[in-house]
Symmetry: C2
Subunit: 147 residues, 2 copies
Amino acid sequence: MEQRVSLITLGVRDMDRTARFYEDLGWQRVESPDGVIAFDLIGQTLGLYPLEALAEEIGVPIDELGRGAITLAHNVRQKEDVDALISAAETAGAIIFKKPCDVFWGGYHGYFADPEGHIWEVAHNPFSPLSTDGEFRWNGYQTETKS
Amino acid sequence: MEQRVSLITLGVRDMDRTARFYEDLGWQRVESPDGVIAFDLIGQTLGLYPLEALAEEIGVPIDELGRGAITLAHNVRQKEDVDALISAAETAGAIIFKKPCDVFWGGYHGYFADPEGHIWEVAHNPFSPLSTDGEFRWNGYQTETKS
């Protein structure tokens, strides 16, 4: 596991109100599909996601997410890296919430919690490739191509 | 507020066990004082901090931090920026947990929660200057000097 967090996801009940809060502080959204609000930070994205949908996606009751629900995501470069990392996390003592599986948006992911309950998503997102250094941006780093 | 998270702090009951978990996954610590375990990520640091101490520092009961307690920190360049941002957050609808004050380690900080309860620390740390782009590293970015 490289030392980086690709996404910080805040589970929220009122998306618009929360988005307005961060916008009032000067943040600007990037384009994202309905149901997600995304702010690109330095080499990572902070996303707002409906609390119920987040709990459902992870497969835990909402109460499990606690007050001010946050999950951290670590994106990997290849689909098979998801399996490898979820497996390594289990060996290291993680609780596996969701075994690796295909996701409706076209990616592949799983969820684990560290021994103290902090929830991590491990994901491969073919639409948002990482930079060479592992930085993440909502709409991806474009691979430079030469014509 | 610039679009960045300087520190992700995980509040934990067992520091050694949690540190070992991340080390088992391949992460390497950076030097840090007793009572804190720090991993430098990309332009930010993930820190482990005792749950009780974290709750005490913020001034909230441990239960307020919830399961898998996490706080996000936004470090600023100058002490007075802390006051300005805490004030702006309050105007935008934040709950102020801790008004700006000097901290025992020599910095200056305050805490607020966004409308959904996600806790942010706003801090000025004179010992860990940010990079020009706002990146944070536990032991600071050295300002380049010319002799």
